[in-house]
Symmetry: C2
Subunit: 243 residues, 2 copies
């Protein structure tokens, strides 16, 4: 499995992905699931993937191969909506190409998060389904998750708002990953993250949080001990609860 989260907030965009892939518990590997494309000053396009690795790699490979071709590509289409549509169409192309193998009982589907900004537009974030159609984030629902999303959802629902600062949102995302990694073996370190400040039109390289990263380790420990303290501080249950 995999876990990816992306946020479209008033200050900009935040993306975090894990890097574990598994085909059974004895076939675990590390693969990057966050891809960055862009032209400084003109556009940033970030892709995150979850699901079948062969499918998602094929989609990204085709998108990359076509960057320097005449046909519509990630760096040439005029809007981020068109970028999401291109990702969805390429996903359909790969799914159709591999359809004859899909009867084998293996799930070949995958999904994408597509975010970024193109000069002249506001930043955008789309969740591209395995069918190739997609929805966009809004201030009401400013984040999307793909992959193993349930463990890390409560903290996002409790603490993340469209108005959250990028730095606060990043911390919230890191806690969401910590919760997921502790409870599910199929999501693992290192984490790839990228923070984009609205209208900067820069193409950040992002940052890889490795196992033992001092800041992340500190946050994990402080969060865990803080949660336990919070639980101890809650008032005792009334007698009626215990009888």
């Amino acid at each position: 499995m995999t876990y990816c989260v992306a946020m479209n907030l008033c200050e900009g965009l935040v993306f975090v992905s894990d890097s574990r892939t598994n085909a059974g518990v004895d076939h675990i590997a590390t693969f990057r699931k966050l891809y960055v494309f862009g032209t400084p000053g003109e556009r940033l396009v970030v892709l995150q993937t979850a699901g079948n690795l062969a499918t998602s790699q094929a989609v990204v490979s085709l998108l990359r191969q076509r960057l320097h071709s005449e046909q519509a590509n990630l760096l040439s289409v005029p809007t981020l909506f068109d970028v999401a549509r291109l990702v969805g169409e390429t996903l359909r192309e790969v799914s159709e190409h591999d359809a004859s193998a899909a009867g084998s009982g293996i799930d070949l589907s995958c999904s994408f998060l597509v975010g970024g900004q193109i000069a002249g537009e506001a930043p955008g974030l789309y969740n591209v389904y395995p069918q190739g159609n997609f929805i966009g984030a809004t201030p009401d629902t400013p984040y999307f998750q793909i992959g193993e999303s349930k463990y890390g959802k409560p903290i996002l629902d409790r603490a993340l708002r469209y108005e959250s600062s990028l730095e606060q949102a990043l911390r919230c995302a890191l806690i969401s990953f910590d919760s997921t990694i502790r409870s599910n073996l199929s999501v693992g370190m290192p984490l790839d993250l990228l923070v984009y400040r609205k209208d900067s039109l820069q193409v950040p390289t992002g940052y890889r949080v490795a196992e033992g990263d001092p800041y992340f380790e500190g946050v994990r420990q402080q969060w865990c001990s803080g949660l336990r303290a919070l639980l101890m501080e809650l008032p005792s249950a009334p007698e009626s609860y215990l009888s």
Copy 2:
């Protein structure tokens, strides 16, 4: 869906269940999923169910009908292991009875948590699978969940220990339910809970936490504001994370 959690701890047992059932989002109802059987001074047997409601109700109805018969029943079998086996066998009986309907694409399976104590034994807790076989909780893994379990798992993994007091464990369970209810519509109030102190051999009636219950509402609010404060207190991410 449903969410149930049960804990077998050094001081005794804790059970919490939600009461929402749904067959599609426009067919939502309230059904109790926590059942108590027992003979004061001799045994307590608690059942919790998740999955197909017709199947789980049939299993509980058969178990209840047979309480006053000559055949082996929840109040007559000598050990809690035998109780779990009886629940598993009754589940298989119902599954076989309804097998001809199972081709309709409806999932008829359900699972049970079975906990309690019989005089002369330590308290026990079993997770009975849809196939009717089961595993028992141990001090290493002192809790089981059935149903919509992922949202509420991180707080249990972080804060619950075999040595936790019953009252602490109950608070931990309530937070686990709060996280689940906030993030998933298929789990809902009221909650049914039961706390059993080891070796008391009493048959507690348990307590129903209704919507608006002052203690639970207070805990939910304090937890939510405490979490947000905890997130704000975390150190800011280093520059390398944001570049």
